[in-house]
Symmetry: C2
Subunit: 698 residues, 2 copies
């Protein structure tokens, strides 16, 4: 493609192929909107039937257009699209939006047609948005290149860039954003994404300095690298990106497969990778807009302490509940803060936070204003929520109060005004104040601010470690064959990346085994060594806690017998003699190749936590030790790592080093490694070592 | 109290003490609303300053009121309330609402005052709602006995009875309900609940045949028995009860303690007990109203199969995701259903459910109607969600379609119409159709229908088992002393209730220990027996897997030495010799006395699941085996019970029998037992037995 996306998103001229004078039609609606909403560029309707439409000159063919065309809108039947694209390409058109459906979404025939039009566009150097899409709006430049319903109402520009793979759901989200007066600077529906993808558009959108925050709705991604590149550029620019992605559950994945025609992919991998790169995931459309609203209006907090001021004790409790759930703290206020509150609020008795000003402030509006200011000034408070309800009769008073608070308080805060009148909402928003509809949405918005700020700070602090990791160009497995790698060879490779493994020796016979054990020190474990026996324990090929030479000798015979009984055909090369690991928590750490994101590292607590409860976290390799620490923090059962039943906490530094080393191993073996499974990794108070490992090459 | 709550909630006459002609004042607002909204009973303003107010005769004193008074409204300063109540009591007034604040909520002085007014009311036989409350509305009879903001707008009656402990938060919820056109038949704020409680009012409200569903907001309950009685009567009447209760987290609990002046209590116990008695808990105010809306409009489904029809594939996926999360199934549609859909929807290719009709139905409205009818007719589909967005230009068409669907489909369904116009919402609701604002709220509403229906069915099916359990009048621990009970005595008591315990014998010396072990069969465990050593393992007082007599003899000496080292002062009576339990999953089952709900039984997975992850479920005793089964189903890690890593599933019947037996033990020892802890209970494929137990009496 010779053109970037600028012509698509900010065209100086738009041609509408087959433009209709009937403004209710798909081919008439963009023309109507461009005219009515005041697009300042050139508009070139193309249709041999008309000389002009509503006073705008109409051209019989693309070739007749008198000037250069940045963007052409195409809504002809699917079978005619290729021909039209050829004409457009021949005339040097830079980009095209194809509304037409009847492509990949209808099956094999459509897929062929889609491949054809994509090739045509590519050969002509045109960028293609769609097919099967609603088109786009650039509200700043009043580019209304869509036939979607969202364009029917007001489309005021604002700091939010919204890109959606789904037309219908995207329209719904855009309409909800409009109701919140959350201006969408861009609305783009990418449809089938035969050329232009979600990640590409979002990246271009976020490059616009007028856009503060990106919001996206996606159903599936084909190119993980593109997504990561988007995330990294957004992080670098300090523009938060909030994504809703469907297809979390197995029913959802089945539905997604049937809907998009491709497997939704491993949602847990997607979740881990976007988190790694600072993208915030939304549960659903309202959750997305709650968080986007926070980002659109608020600065970033310097910490996670939440100050709460309410006119209802119960609402304060609900906010505190949700805050704790999302990892915020609700600090007890400092002595000075409490004293100041006592002087301000008559009869104020509680230790505060949540601070309940009750309805008293209606008699004395300064009470609310001063309370909020005092709470926000507490050094442990970094962000605030002020909760109100109804108060239709007091809207003017309240707006004045919040205007003063906004002017006098530096730290970010949001207002939660339940059942607020439209007037109240509009007034606050026009004064640059975020106002949410309920306690939970307010906490969600605030928690997103806190999380993004913390994550970006950590990302910046981790930059050097990340660069160091990425600069290491170790390449392993260059000569290895495919299939399982012998335990000793695997151990050697892993050690080259600094992965700690239990001391292990190979013995061909009983005498050697005893000698190895003597050298290692007792107790030891014996494990059968055979490339054909992958699951040694199930084959009876592992005996633990052997206390002396006699036990080792007996065990050597026993594992041989067991292995032959289990797998008569397997060739056994000998046994591994291994030092028994000290007590600790069993973890599982692994690598596998994800179709979208490439090599990913997985961490979980061992045993049932991984196998039954699926309590695992993924990241794209490599990960720094700091990032490995965030992985541990995301485990549901993370409390176990802090020590349970009197046992000490695990050596977190050793464990995160091991995870980071494994992730480096993933880089070093990318392209060759199919799967690596370190299970268990024994994490004790003084170290973390892999006790068993299985490595399989492609 | 000689009067029930009827006079409070449906008064035939209302006196307003200190009524004001200024309708903006607390004492003027009820009068205004009663007049304007057309209350048909007698209104008696009492104020020596006026002859009449707005044409209604005003009386100088309570004694001058010419007729009987069902309800008096009191809003005088706190210190004057007692005197007014005495006058009211002397005149035979049946009930009173005290708006005044300045009671328990302000601390010790207020508490004394509150005790005094409660005594006065009690002595006079009057019921007292409040103090520190907004009062109430009975919308059917137009009793507007409140000064709250909610009364300022329309208060149309409807099938929802709403009771709230919080005035401000309750007002917010009522206002949100009004916006949804969810008619509140009753709005009651119980305030400090010095006499009339949440549970009492809700029970009276649900007794009104015009009320279909109860909705409540609570912060804390003092009387668990009253709550259970409410739940049971609601279940018997088939009226769902949806409650939002704050104070889940530790921050929330701290805030609640500071707000209500009492500890929020163990939220997990509250959660388990209300679930046991069929109450549905809401996460927050919107979640509550979503579910209430479902109940207000829909019948109950016969199963958990969800049919989904959308105009957006992505919305279908989001709905399927949430449905799976909430335990609904999204069945693959039957062959006949798929064939019928293929004949109806042009180009319909997917296997269906979610069924995506895309935007095509706008050209042919019958398409949507027929698709919904076909999906809902599938025998595996029990309840439906139809998802739409915006469609402002097609509201009339859509309303007609839904009206036909409603008339032709028997199974319950809800419409999810994102960004719907007010006109669309009103039209659907006026036709008796529930319409939710998003995919997740729609699934929440439907899941509540499914859960309530299943729960009520199970409750009815379990009635005989429950009655049998409750008829057993076993009474144990009548003579026992307080403190820890010896293991053998505890075992004997537990066995009387049918609790399975590992075979255990007592031995005073080494010879006896070996003889016991010989009799039990090897391997055995040895445990030190001393009422002063509660945690035997930590004292080194437990040795496991003793394979023969010699090992037992050696172990006898060892545990003695260990115990003396650990607790030199403890008197040791001997050892317990116990059969080793077969392999299985370790559970923990216990009993303790909850301040609100009395004896409760707890079940969890043993070890870290209970201790670190707090994955436990509570119920009030006794529980039937069916109810014990629901407890297991609520464990987050329940998948472990189905067998993991090749091990078989646990014997669920034996495990639920054990839990039920323990719960019976809780009944039999109520009043005496402080705590019982069976940990572990070993649940294997062929039985479940307690391996260790600790019983402490009060």
């Amino acid at each position: 493609m010779k053109h970037d996306l600028h012509a698509l998103l900010s065209p100086a001229s738009i041609a509408i192929i087959g433009a209709s004078s009937d403004f209710a039609k798909v081919n008439g609606r963009p023309l109507k909107h461009l005219m009515e909403k005041g697009y300042a560029g050139k508009i070139y309707p193309v249709n041999p039937k008309y000389q002009s439409i509503k006073g705008i000159a109409c051209y019989p063919a693309v070739a007749d257009i008198p000037g250069p065309v940045d963007l052409a809108i195409v809504a002809v039947p699917a079978k005619a699209v290729a021909l039209v694209l050829r004409e457009l390409g021949a005339c040097g058109v830079k980009s095209v939006i194809v509304f037409s459906s009847g492509f990949a979404e209808i099956g094999a025939d459509g897929r062929d047609l889609e491949t054809e039009i994509t090739l045509v566009a590519r050969e002509s150097g045109m960028r293609l948005c769609g097919p099967n899409c609603l088109g786009l709006i650039n509200a700043f430049e009043r580019v209304i290149a869509t036939f979607g319903q969202y364009a029917d109402g007001a489309t005021p520009p604002g700091p939010v860039g919204f890109v959606t793979q789904s037309g219908a759901f995207g329209t719904a989200i855009a309409a909800l954003a409009r109701r919140r007066e959350l201006g969408l600077g861009y609305f783009v529906n990418t449809g089938n994404e035969s050329d232009v993808t979600f990640a590409q558009v979002m990246r271009e959108v976020l490059a616009d300095p007028r856009i503060k925050v990106g919001a996206g709705y996606i159903e599936g991604l084909r190119d993980g690298a593109e997504m990561i590149a988007l995330a990294e550029s957004a992080l670098a620019a300090g523009k938060p990106l909030v994504l809703a992605k469907v297809g979390k559950s197995s029913s959802g994945a089945r539905a997604a497969a049937s809907h998009t025609g491709s497997l939704a992919g491993a949602d847990a991998v997607f979740d881990g990778v976007i988190r790694q790169f600072g993208i915030i995931r939304a549960r659903n459309e309202e959750h997305m807009l709650d968080m986007v609203e926070g980002f659109a209006y608020c600065g970033l907090p310097q910490g996670c302490g939440l100050g709460i001021v309410t006119q209802s004790g119960g609402a304060g409790v609900l906010i505190a509940d949700r805050a704790e759930e999302l990892g915020l703290t609700v600090p007890v206020l400092g002595t000075a803060t409490q004293r100041a509150l006592q002087q301000t609020i008559p009869g104020f008795g509680a230790s505060g936070n949540p601070v309940d000003v009750t309805g008293q402030f209606l008699a004395d509006p300064a009470l609310l204003r001063e309370s909020v200011k005092i709470v926000m000034a507490d050094p442990q408070v970094h962000v605030g929520i002020v909760w109100l309800q109804l108060m239709d009769a007091y809207v003017d008073v309240l707006i004045a109060i919040f205007e003063e608070i906004k002017a006098q308080v530096d730290k970010p805060f949001v207002v939660c005004w339940v059942a607020a009148s439209d007037k109240a909402l509009q007034a606050l928003r026009s004064r640059g104040i975020a106002v949410l509809r309920g306690a939970e949405p307010a906490v969600d918005a605030v928690a997103a601010l806190v999380r993004y700020a913390a994550m970006r700070k950590a990302w910046q602090a981790d930059a050097k470690a990340r660069a160091d990791l990425q600069s290491q160009q170790l390449s392993l497995l260059a000569t290895s064959t495919s299939g399982p790698v012998s335990s000793l060879e695997a151990a050697q490779l892993l050690r080259q990346c600094g992965v700690s493994l239990a001391e292990t020796r190979f013995a061909k016979n009983s005498t050697e085994a005893v000698a190895c054990a003597d050298a290692l020190g007792y107790p030891v474990a014996l494990k059968i060594e055979s490339r054909e026996i992958l699951h040694k324990t199930e084959a009876g090929g592992v005996l633990l806690n052997l206390a002396d030479g006699a036990a080792v000798a007996a065990a050597f015979t026993q594992v041989g017998v067991n292995a032959r009984r289990h797998s008569p055909e397997a060739s056994v090369s000998g046994v591994l003699v291994q030092q028994m690991a000290a007590d600790g928590v069993d973890m599982a750490v692994g690598l596998h190749h994800d179709p979208a994101y490439g090599m990913v590292v997985m961490v979980g607590l061992g045993g049932i936590h991984v196998e039954v409860l699926k309590d695992v976290v993924f990241r794209k390799v490599p990960v720094t030790t700091a990032e490995a620490g965030s992985m541990l923090d995301e485990l549901r059962a993370k409390a176990i790592l802090n020590g349970v039943r009197g046992s000490p906490a695990v050596d977190r530094a050793a464990l995160t080093r091991l995870i980071s080393s494994v992730s480096q191993f993933g880089i070093a073996t990318d392209g060759r490694l199919a799967e690596l499974d370190l299970n268990p990794v024994r994490a004790g108070p003084d170290g973390a070592i892999a006790v068993d490992w299985l490595m399989i090459c492609r």
